[in-house]
Amino acid sequence: MATTWLERRRSRIDGLAQGRSLGAEALRRLRRNPVAITGAVIIGAFVIVAVLAPLLAPHGAAEAFPELQENLRPGRIPGPQEGFPLGSDQLGRDFLSRMILAARQTLLVGVLATLIGLVIGLVIGTLAGAFGGWVDTLLMRVTDVLLAIPSLLLAISVAALAASPSQTTVIIAVSAVAVPIFARLLRGSMLAQRESDHVVAATALGVKRRAVVLRHMLPNAVGPVIVQATLTLATAILDAAALSFLGLGDADPGRAEWGLMLAQAQAYLDVRPALALYPAIAIIVVALGFTLLGESLREALDPKGRR
């Protein structure tokens, strides 16, 4: 008995002494946080639905059904019935299938736009923070100009540049909004790193400039940027939905999109409010999920909160 207890204790201490990275430490704290778990569950469910959408959706997004269409009248849209759990939309298509398939578009646009914004923002932020001087001044003034424009206005302007709106233009427009945020954030923490003791120490050891920037500055500086990325996913989803709502979204009628569904449902608010309500709730819940996880991630990675 005593020996097993001792052994267990010893292996636990060994485990503590073994390299456990800050990331593992943060993960441990995330798992204890109910807010983080709520966010993770929402995102998990959303991602599963989005990935498996073609399998989960009973029908196609553009498929119209005669049995629904014949019941369509001005002032009447068929509600839930046999085979169509959420009823019909304004054109006699299966509303449930469209809701499910739209999740896929939302995830795709949100993730791609955030990733593109993140990568470009990281490059700009690293260059500005590592080199300083005129490189920094030039990049940051451009960034400031972009930051000065309200994000939705910027996204609309970029999207409107394209001859015809498409999924690609939405992604570009939304990532254009994210780039300056990431760039500024990273540049700030890179500057703080440049003054830090361990960077001076690395320089004092003759470590090459590139290694100082990439190994000693960047990994210590990206924390806030990663957190921002989760939060940006939420705003990217909202922005993409807003663009679709305003008619600057994906023009392909074969694809469903929550923002566009919301826009089109406006005319039928008094007939079937569910057509507007469900996409709106979906957008809100998903954005909330990313925000919750992002906020708790920020808390978990904050070195001051380390226990």
């Binding site: 456990r20 800050l22 003791d197 001076v200 120490a201 004092a204 050891l205 003759g206």
Partner: protein, 326 residues
């Protein structure tokens, strides 16, 4: 024997537009012979750290005006191109900093921070570098070094971290090591261990050591020659025994008298130097220490004392403590 490091008239001024320069180091000169241990002592703000950063050329290029010369093994460091300087740093000259936690990269395992230097300067491969790193950690007294290679800095105690930093600094057997208050952030017991370790390693490898500290106890135990800095200038320099035996500058004298002694009579107040570094006069037309000096004369606030060398001692004072006192 020619000196390994020769600092001549080093002056470091921090410039700010629209404001007068702040002179942190004001004409400091000293030499370090190969394998020698030299102390640089002074209170906070006297310019000791700035001196060390200037020697390593680690001060920012903007807003700093450096004059004088720093010669390392015949090369003038102040005019050396940055790329050549990077070659020297870590290989020929190294530095140990004050705060062992913040001087290690928190997101990189300790082992990688050791091998990084070995691979950079000694061109070692991944595996040999790892073996050598374990060896180095062993030499600085870190138990179970193989496993410690994968530890992150926050998993080590303060003493361990400082040992690791010393291992990194000495990895390439540099000829000069600058230790900037290496024990200030540590417990007294750990301090003694770290100092012993430093002294022993420096002796083994023949590395010259510049010990920067505010702690006279540290200096007394290790340094052959001691430089006492005040307000950016060296006010007294002598061999250790001479300096501690017969301090001549009132500042040195005051410092030594303000060390608590076990054999002091009970109830006696500890001597202290009045005022603070902020009360300094500018060196340009006075002795900076004069306002705090118990022996100050009329002349001290009118004429800058020049450094005078006599009997192996450098002294910058108009009215030094007589050699017979104490």
């Amino acid at each position: 024997m020619s000196a390994l490091l020769e600092v001549r008239d080093l002056r470091v001024a921090f410039t700010r537009r629209g404001e007068p320069d702040t002179v942190a180091v004001d004409g400091v000169s000293f030499e370090v012979d190969p394998g020698q241990v030299v102390g640089l002592v002074g209170e906070s703000g006297c310019g000791k750290s700035v001196t060390s950063l200037a020697i390593m050329r680690l001060l920012p290029a903007r807003g700093v005006r450096l004059t004088g010369s720093v010669t390392f093994d015949g090369t003038d460091l102040l005019t050396l191109p940055e790329a050549r300087m990077r070659e020297l740093r870590g290989r020929e000259m190294s530095m140990v900093f004050q705060d062992p936690l913040s001087s290690l990269n928190p997101v990189v395992p300790v082992g990688l921070q050791v091998t990084e230097v070995l691979r950079r300067h000694r061109g070692m491969g991944k595996e040999p570098a790892r073996r050598e790193a374990a060896d180095l950690l062993d030499r600085v007294g870190i138990p179970d070094p193989r496993r410690r290679l994968d530890s992150y800095p926050h998993q080590l105690s303060g003493g361990m971290r400082q040992r690791a930093l010393i291992a990194i600094a000495l990895a390439c057997r540099p000829r000069l090591l600058i230790a900037d208050e290496p024990t200030t952030a540590l417990d007294v017991t750990i301090q003694a261990q770290i100092l012993d370790l430093l002294g022993q390693l420096v002796r083994e490898t023949g590395t010259a050591l510049v010990m920067i500290t505010h702690d006279l106890g540290v200096v007394a135990g290790m340094c052959e020659t001691v430089n006492v800095l005040y307000a950016g200038r060296i006010v007294e320099r002598a061999r250790r025994h001479r300096l501690f035996g017969t301090p001549r500058h009132p500042y040195t004298h005051g410092l030594l008298r303000s060390i608590p002694r076990l054999d002091a009579p009970a109830g006696e107040d500890l001597a202290a130097i009045g005022g603070s570094v902020n009360d300094n006069l500018p060196w340009t037309h006075a002795c900076a220490f004069a306002p705090r000096c118990p022996r100050s004369l009329e002349r001290c606030v009118e004429v800058t004392p020049d450094p005078e060398t006599a009997g192996g001692r450098l002294l910058r004072c108009h009215n030094p403590v007589p050699a017979s006192v104490e």
